[in-house]
Subunit: 500 residues, 2 copies
């Protein structure tokens, strides 16, 4: 071992347990329930889990795999391809794994990201056999300082019988201090989460574990797989524009100040572009209480617009990663990373009054949102934290382009064939066409506002026709059951939602 490696193991007994990733991967037994670090590609296992995936190519061995959220590189793909997964939860975003899920080769449990740790603590999921967590280093007590995410790692290491630590040499030692690790006490002894501002701290800078559980320590030196960030395009710029105009009006009407309230933004290019839009706005002293921080957070900090950001992970482009690491000291006191059941806690989200901005796959004329299942059946990624935030937010906003793929698809449909967020949880809908403010509206009023503002011109008359025909049949939420999915069926069969 190199000196700089050994400097990251401040607890001597672990020095006896240093192994290669292949050796460590042997601790994983058939049918194990394995919990791994990693949230939206950040802070995931970069050697032991991939080594296990390789091992599963040769051996008939399968596990149930729990993570924070999506993993990086090809880990999920390799695991799926090599038939190593019985069940996966609570989130994924990998095309190969997705295919394995949709063909019933891998069982997938799509959960609110705040729920997995809760269910583990309550015994509503089986306990973890083995946890694999990435670390910046281990301290003198054998406790783990995480890297670019916290995710469910604290709950996994608490539940697990055995722990494998992956020390990532590419993360600066100065990372200690950006984490705030807190594990709720078991019922009925739960306590108040004393977070009253985005920068509130209630825990420790490390994950306290029982050092006896650590069966292996492995070294890596590989950064997180970078986020693919697209530059703002016409659609994302238009969405951002509509939303900024809306916030302007809220400030003008006295409902919000120029600091707004803490922002949450889902993962992905639309949410990132929307946040970036704040750079050239009148808003100031913005904060985030979110689950993931993307490039836009650091852009807003650099622009002097954002003063603090709380999340469970940092998932940035290669360029932003370099900039962030080189200038870490500038950001360190403006950041905190929390376990995902705290970053996504209903209690804190409601108390802070978070403004939640999430991406929809599609929404319907009454404001129900599908975030997960394409054509109602094929899993895309998962609901992630969108439900944690949408339900308990001050304002629940969903954004998507109105008609992608050369307008062959309308993302505003008669009825969504899968509901992740019901009409009750959706305040504002935005497409590049415009913004629908649904607050205080009945379904019929909502439909009018959505028709007027969000629908692509090529689908406007077609949606109007559906709505008028349905309305004539009566009912609080008018629908024609025979035709509710006709657009989706048409797309499935004819590759367009346009009815001829």
């Amino acid at each position: 071992m190199k000196t700089e490696q050994l400097e990251r193991i401040l607890y001597s007994p672990y020095k006896e347990r240093i192994l290669t990733s292949e050796e460590a991967a042997k601790f994983i037994k058939n049918n194990y329930i394995v919990g791994v670090s990693g949230f939206t590609k950040a802070g995931d296992s970069k050697s032991v889990l991939p080594a296990f995936a390789a091992r599963a190519k040769e051996e008939d061995i399968k596990i149930t795999l729990l993570s924070g959220a999506s993993l990086g590189y090809n880990t999920d793909a390799d695991l799926a391809e090599n038939g190593a997964l019985i069940k996966r939860m609570p989130f994924q975003a990998d095309p190969t794994l997705r295919n394995s899920i949709n063909t019933h080769q891998t069982l997938y449990v799509d959960q609110h990201l705040s729920e997995t740790a809760e269910m583990l603590h309550n015994g509503h999921l089986p306990k973890i056999d083995l946890a694999i967590v990435e670390a910046t280093y281990v301290d003198a007590n054998g406790y783990i300082v995480p890297t670019t995410s916290v995710g469910n790692s604290a709950s996994f290491t608490e539940s697990a019988d055995e722990i494998i630590v992956e020390v990532n040499m590419s993360i600066p030692l100065s990372f200690k201090g950006i984490h705030d690790i807190y594990i709720p006490k078991p019922y009925p002894k739960r306590e108040i989460l004393h977070i009253t501002e985005p920068d509130g701290r209630i825990g420790t800078e490390y994950m306290k574990i029982d050092p006896k559980k650590v069966v292996a320590v492995v070294f890596t030196n590989k950064p997180d797989s970078p986020a693919r960030i697209s530059p703002p395009d016409e659609n994302t710029s238009a969405i951002s524009h509509h939303l900024l105009k809306f916030f302007d009006k809220e400030v003008e009407d006295g409902r919000l100040t120029k600091s707004l309230l803490p922002l949450q933004a889902g993962i992905g290019k639309i949410a990132n572009a929307v946040l970036s839009g704040f750079k050239d706005s009148k808003f100031k002293e913005l904060t985030m209480y979110s689950e993931v921080l993307q490039d836009s957070t650091f852009e807003l900090m650099d622009a002097g617009k954002m003063i603090f950001a709380s999340a469970s992970s940092i998932t940035v482009s290669e360029e932003c990663h370099g900039h962030f690491i080189s200038n870490f000291e500038n950001y360190k006191d403006k950041l905190v990373l929390r376990p995902q059941n705290i970053s996504n806690s209903a209690e804190v989200i409601r108390r802070l009054g978070v403004i939640a901005i999430n991406t929809a796959i599609e929404f319907d004329i009454y404001g129900n949102v599908n975030s997960t299942n394409i054509l109602g059946t094929k899993m895309m990624n998962g609901i992630g934290g969108s439900g944690d935030f949408a339900r308990n937010s001050y304002l629940s906003i969903f954004v998507c382009p109105s008609a992608p793929k050369n307008n062959t698809i309308s993302h505003v449909v008669p009825m969504v064939p899968h509901v992740d967020h019901s009409e009750h949880d959706v305040d504002i809908l935005v497409t590049e066409q415009g913004l629908a403010d649904l607050r205080g509206l009945s379904p019929i009023e909502r439909a009018e506002v959505i028709l007027d503002n969000c629908v692509h011109p090529e689908y406007k008359q077609q949606l109007r026709n559906y709505f008028e025909e349905a309305k004539a049949l009566g009912g609080h939420t008018p629908h024609i059951l025979e035709k509710a999915f006709s657009w989706h069926i048409n797309f499935r069969d004819n590759k367009t939602m346009k009815l001829s």
Copy 2:
């Protein structure tokens, strides 16, 4: 005025404002936004709002009406019948009003019961012009001591320009003390809700108002309209039995103690019967953190099984009401009534670990629940607080009979045509056939458990056929879009869900 009436007006200036209900009802102007007390028939306006309904029979006058939840007697029916409602929110349970909503004569905004007050405070709903609230009495400061419910009254009186107080002589003066009124501070200054046990108190025993707003005081002497409670039948007893067996197992496995965790039960005969089932069980020292207390709560207290119950209203049968009032001193220290944004607060529900038991209209093979819209279009009552509890509970349980109306309807269907609670928020489903434990299961696994346990024998093969055909098409959540609503369409056209 009689002496005993004047004894209930401890603030002298109000004595000048005593009016008849007809006189008071004249304060209601056309297009007013009126907020009234009343939650599941309890503590509603029994004279002024009915007088307004009568006035609207003669006059062309319409209002937007907000309440806590449903109102008692014929008030909602008369308002609807006389064309007095532009819009109604956030809940109703009246057949005449329901018909008016479903024929688009009254706009209806169906909301999570915790949300209305939040939206008012945040300015996301227009402010209240006039509030009408039932009182036990008004104290020396002009503050209002509520009656059998709190609902949204504190938020309405805060928002309103004018207030009408209805002093109900039928409520004993000793009611003072069972209420705990708290109004959250405006953002960004929200505070922690320091409730860590069902009996926790954070507010005052009265609603603090600005006495200058009080334009009229009216006397009534009429009890709440009684709840219609059916005796347990074969179905509700079987549901109760399955659920008790489940709780037994949870205790045996060490996840729960014999006191379980605080219970919530939705309004209605099934939930009431389920709770009654605890009377002859091994469970003890039970508590409730619910929105409404029904007869079963008092039965459990009488049986020495329940030690404390928190809610926003007390809605009981005539018999139970008499018993409760005559023995009020026995119950007083075991009860607290809170504003519905506190009884249904995500923060408190999650902290206490509430076990939520709510009634579904129907659910589907993947565990999505419809609580509101019959055949996807016709409003029944509303989502009520079921979403507030289901999302943030320790366990989210939904119950319903499997095949009512002579088995012409199956309440387990291929796809629900309206989703109020998505698969993500549903842990346990129970019909008289059995209990499906969905914790940690993927959609395909869920379908098997639901098929095995919940479906009526007369629909089992039919549902199995749908599931197998859908599964063969693939997808994480298999469905046949053309057939997903075929059962509902068949019922609409042929009055049975049985496919020939």
